[in-house]
Symmetry: D2
């Protein structure tokens, strides 16, 4: 496993292909540092003995200790550990831990490569396993580039005026392929080691060239990252973890990029386009059942803290609002647990979360995220967005006023009062606030997407049969397939 | 185990102490038959080989095969089976299976009697175990009588103008006690074998006489049941399961009732009043994670069926509405699963569901129940509440018109069309509709009660610590107790 | 103007053509009496000097004093009086005043007959004015029969397998036409003097035979009313206004019915089908801004009263819930006011409410109605649906128990306590509850219908222009047509 | 009336007393320019013949033409014109027009000074009228400084540890008073001519020194403005109105400030503390019925525009979402209209909006604001928050890629596509987005404050009487005071 220092050193060696604010820059650009800081935490804690059980595991491929972010889950416990790891890390970095993007791509590829091989006798899974070994060994991070530019949203890929609206194969060669197109909204691409490309939607036969999946180093020839960093206003003296963390999203441009065969995991198998797109999406929706509860934890904690600062912690409507965070966080977390418990072993050996639970959970989160920011803003009051700049709290002319007037609860020092309000401002009235709100809707698919997924997967027919039975239209009610068997849990120290 | 015929025979032997519509009647009164029919299903399916695994289990006390409704769960799997059993049964009887009331009372008493004995050296647990053996052996059903009349809602029991506002001990005797008072809204009391009485709230020392728990036969000397039956309008020719089922609630009056010692499970231990009240409430809230998803299943099925009858099943807003049922049902079910997985072994050996998950789940259901009826009513259209009476569909003068005009989807016969609309009417525009809406709010505690429970139990301090860490107020973040360990699940056929 | 006694006497002279519960009955059937009682109030108060200003007005046609329910509004003040009259009457009868159905039909016909004449040189308006004179003179009540059976919901009238799925012309004669078909969910048809038939939707040329509007006496040859009465359980001793009131809905069957020319107001003018359908719907949506606030008033009052009975009136969450009723009632009422103020004078002289405000108001009510019942049920507690029957409060054996235990607030007598709970039961757990919930969604068109209306009428283009201007895509922003001129109100005693 | 150039010239002459980012600056600081630009629009349009009717009026005091922002409304029409003016201006500046703050302060003072004089024989109204004459003549702008720092939220002003937590009188002198304290979240203070100070809450006798209201030039001796500017990222080449506009909020510190008598409008009259606080708040809540609909208009327009860019304008869920903006905007606007129509003439001659309608309207807006941003973000997709910086669209290395890939709808040029996405980013993922979200909750009082106001003002007793009548507890129902008389509107060209 790498240390965070090694991860950083590797980053700095990469070829500059980032474009931020009008010029090409390298990975040492300070504007991407907040995202790099998030990534570093995933390495640091893996080295920390206290976190070892959660952050690391033994590779089935190599028998070596690896970072859990590189390990396709093999059973329900693995999925629950994944969810728990994500929640705890997300609490610590103030929200999105980012590295699960690549993790979910790995999971999706581990399954679909096997399934394609089973159908077509291809060798994608062998290639992928080789790749995965190296990925584990080198302890890599990857951005998953799924969302295409898409062009006209109601046309299929092959129908677009500009064929590059979706990333596609422009040339087949003996040693690989050439691809062109662009992916958007790709979180962490700017400080990932690798970029894993997957299709974004179901495909028809005519879309064959759009059925393409591969992994490349992020600074590979022809890859360009047009990057938008997001962070809170940099602190001058009032340093704190939240203000050190941030994120960058990139438009990833593939300008006639060569993909060597060994890194190519789907190439024309259009029938598997939807399967692969959904494997990633559903796995990522399960990941949200770890990170989004952490966002609720943070908002809840900040709300309780600012209520303390306002001395309104015992007021009835505040208590009620605080409990809403508990509801959001734990319903989503419960959906993740159920998704793990009722997951399925795939032919590849990878254990996959139940999609119904993954989707009802993710949808709930997408529906409530703005409301949770609303709750915090309501408890905090207008000061959240009108708090004077940090400088006024240190400048000679204004410091005394600031120290005097920032205190509402006399048990809190001026600095702690200031720290609380500054955190609340960072959480609710900063570029990060907008990022969490909008990513909270769209990351992993918006509520509309989960509704579509549910309408595809949910067994409405069996519910109609219940109604038909109760109405006397059917004489019998066969419920045997209605509910999955509860797993036979052997809890430690329990007699079954 | 009893057959339903034996259960019925036993009922009919009971002393008449029901008051319905102005007179005293016995258990053979046809107005309670719909509730009796529900209860019968819990016996019938226990005899059915297909349901044996789910409905029966081996008693830890006697080693005999018993109905699961009499078995305090011993591990997470038991809790999940309980939840699953309730959902499947509830689908079959069109909603509330009722028998879990007594089941949850048994569970609560199994725990609290042990805990009181541990603290006071009393012998409640021995008495209870004896009672439970007989309960299992005789395959009994019990109503749990918890909610007192309460009088002035902001005064404690001992402060009430009328001391009988809460059931209490009026006399201590060598062989037992005399109690007086009344319990309200007691479902299934009219056709239960036993009535189990528990305190309804936290108690102070001055409320000592109100700390009382016991079990008595439902026709015991001095017990009077003022009963309100609820059912749909009886079908004349269009018979169907839904129309056969129903419920009765009773005001249970204890008019100086003698409780013999062996049936007395709490007597003055006021410090355990809240504990016992919550053990029942929380266990019952977990039961809701079984039955309420079934109510959603039924409403969803009826909505899909009537959408078919209206030929609007593919309309976008209908699809969206159908998926909302899926969301409600499965988030609630997931909360129950998580509650089981993260439950706790109590000192009595009974395994108890996690209260956070039980409460966030139950609250969600209480918040969405009216909305779900709204969804069905919206999809069905006004005909749900304006459908002519059944008679018009058979009377010579009108039958031809009814047969002609009831058809909207030509693939459905007049009878099936009629059956669908009649079911929808029964579900949305009948006394049962109101019962399910209001019981959906209040049964097991309304959303306000779950909010209170969450505010008591949820670890807001740990969330504040996250915020303090992120704000730079605390240097370290100790998350070790933040999340429970994921259980080490040994799923069949899996390697860990 | 008629007295209610005269209205009743007229009703009893009508030919029996109601079918209820398996046989043909007359207007003296006690099952429709609750609806008749509602209607009677609209006559009684018109005779009451205190209500004269609101309930009566001078006819523009005859110069005589007429009941306001027969007067097409001529200006904004008339519309506001209509709204106010409906709210006050609805408060008094416990909800739906019903007579506005015919009122809105009259309004719609007054406009569309003029517009058709203007386009086609027909004489519909002359016929209608003649009809209206008699309607005013005889002080008639009318049900508006708009909703057809509809058959397959995604096919147009002329495409239906059964052409009678919508009411249509089957024969043209010199002296009139023959029509066939059925209308459903027709409130008050069973005790109206007249039935006014309007088309239910937009029509294409091929639907020409479905473009038909007319008015006939409710017992006219060939008209059959299959009627479903709705009321609360009849009180035996605890009489009260709420329990006397109710409603009936009918399926109105037109079995080859002859419509004489003078009563025919549209006959084939398919281009006006949508116009007429919407004129009625939008006028009726404006009427809802009178009655629905009254329903909120009643629910709010009952909630406040039962909170008093529970002695929880000062509890924070109860206060908050009570204020939600205020919000619903007054936002809807405000929408009605704005709709009146920004209404339009039509070519007929009839003043028509603004459709945007009528629709946003009606939609809000349709979206909140179930929630308001939820609020009341939540404040009331489970007793709302488990209250023992009235008989138990009078029967010798049980009266003492009931009187003792029904009291929660010692300031209330047993009878008043009982009256409060009985009202709450009637409001939340009775057939009327379901009727108000479902009519609250569908009457005048469900939220989905208002969304469609808004999408047709709302000026999205002007909003896009604002966005284009702000984005710098357009250089100028022309807002002149953006908002209507505020009317130049000459408030009494004010200088402009 | 001033031109915007004159307003600017005056600003620049003011004494520097702003603190932004660590130093003292003057009104020429570019960081407050976006707010200044908003203010300028209120002057420019008053000079524009097209807007004259709306933006100007004849002063009752001087007979001269004045800007409407300086004119206390005298009748319902004036209130409706105020609402309309605010909506149209707000559309034009992209949201908050700001100048209504001072306007509402003027309105509140016009009323309360008269009422105090009536009670105490003071001369506040004379002083105020003099001040107002000059205010109108000089065409001033004012910030209203109401919200105090507040200290411990559950203690009254005189109970605070630091007496300066609320602004208060520290010394009475013959020629005036000395005040100390600070006000927070004071919008536009940094570029207003004047600051008008009002109390923020109800006061007790012991809070007498906190009952103080006055107006001072914003750069008056001892006043310090610690200012936080908010704007979107400055455009380099893609200039547009939205990006030119912004806002600044200030902490306004009164460091032993002298208030001369003639500018003092309340001084110790604690019984009028609540009255004055609510007069401002309720008037401002009515103002929100103008500006918040404009915010919905803008969000709606942007959503429709980006839907066009995504080519999903006809998709069902998008249509439904667009109609939600219509609902929010028009319900709020209707509440404002009803508030005007049912307003009251005060003893001062100022016509005041109805507080029930003002509060139900404002609460609705506070409850829906986050949801509306959610809707826009949902329709826009993740690109809203991941759009590369403007520079990348012009830099030589990246321009071609950007131009190619930004197009989704081929009918839109790259520039227009870019402009749309940039506007959406500005609206949903910028400091302004957070400002509008949070100001949308708290400006004029959050939903909790309106709930409190409603619970104070709403006539629950009359609703209880309706319930008592319907329940048979009262024999009569007196509804005469239930609803206000509809005003006798003399609409132009109408016969009454």
């Amino acid at each position: 496993m790498r240390t965070s220092a090694e991860y950083l050193a590797n980053l700095k060696k990469m070829k500059p292909n980032l474009y931020i604010g009008g010029g090409k820059v390298g990975r040492d650009d300070p504007r991407i540092q907040p995202g790099v800081n998030v990534m570093a935490v995933t390495f640091d804690l893996a080295q920390d003995p206290e976190w070892e059980d959660l952050m690391t595991i033994t590779s089935r491929l190599t028998g070596k200790k690896i970072n859990r972010f590189t390990h396709p889950p093999q059973n329900a416990h693995d999925l629950m550990q994944k969810q728990k790891m994500i929640r705890l890390l997300a609490q610590r970095v103030g929200g999105c831990i980012q590295r699960c993007m690549g993790y979910d791509a790995i999971i999706a590829l581990s399954i679909v490569t096997k399934e394609m091989d089973e159908k077509y006798g291809t060798e994608y899974n062998r290639r992928f396993i080789n790749y995965l070994k190296s990925y584990q060994e080198r302890d890599l991070t990857a951005a998953c580039a799924q969302t295409d530019m898409k062009g006209d949203r109601i046309k299929r890929p092959h129908e677009q005026a500009d064929p590059d609206a979706y990333v596609h194969i422009v040339e087949q060669r003996d040693d690989g392929i050439i691809v062109r197109g662009a992916k958007i909204s790709i979180t962490m691409a700017a400080y990932a080691d690798e970029i894993i490309v997957l299709p974004t939607r179901a495909l028809k036969e005519a879309d064959r060239d759009y059925a393409v999946a591969f992994a490349l180093p992020a600074d590979w020839e022809g890859i360009q990252l047009v990057t938008r960093p997001v962070a809170v206003r940099q602190r001058k003296t009032l340093k704190c973890p939240f203000a050190e963390m941030g994120v960058s999203d990139s438009m990833v441009i593939f300008d006639n990029v060569f993909v060597p065969k060994e890194r190519l995991f789907m190439c024309g198998e259009w029938e598997f386009g939807r399967r692969l797109a959904l494997l990633f999406a559903d796995s990522h929706r399960h990941s949200y059942s770890g990170c989004k509860p952490a966002v609720s934890d943070i908002l809840c904690g900040a709300a309780a803290l600012v209520a303390e600062a306002n001395n309104i912690e015992r007021v009835s409507h505040v208590r009620e609002k605080l409990s809403e965070f508990a509801g959001s966080a734990e319903l989503a977390y419960a959906a993740g647990i159920a998704s793990a418990i009722y997951g399925d072993k795939t032919s590849s050996g990878t254990y996959f979360p139940n999609v119904i639970y993954a989707n009802v959970g993710r949808r709930l989160m997408g529906e409530t995220i703005f409301h949770e920011f609303n709750l915090l803003a309501e408890i905090a009051g207008g000061l959240a967005v009108t708090l004077p700049y940090e400088d006024e709290f240190t400048a000679e002319q204004t410091k005394a006023w600031m120290d005097k007037y920032i205190i509402r609860n006399p048990n809190l020092s001026p600095e702690d009062s200031h720290r609380i309000w500054r955190l609340v401002e960072n959480l609710t009235a900063s570029p990060m606030a907008c990022w969490y709100e909008i990513a909270g809707i769209h990351g992993g698919g918006s509520p509309v997407m989960e509704t579509i997924a549910l309408n595809l997967e949910y067994d409405y027919e069996s519910r109609k049969k219940i109604a038909r039975y109760l109405a006397g239209m059917d004489k019998e009610l066969n419920q045997s397939k209605q509910l999955q068997e509860a797993p036979n849990l052997c809890l430690e120290g329990e007699e079954g």
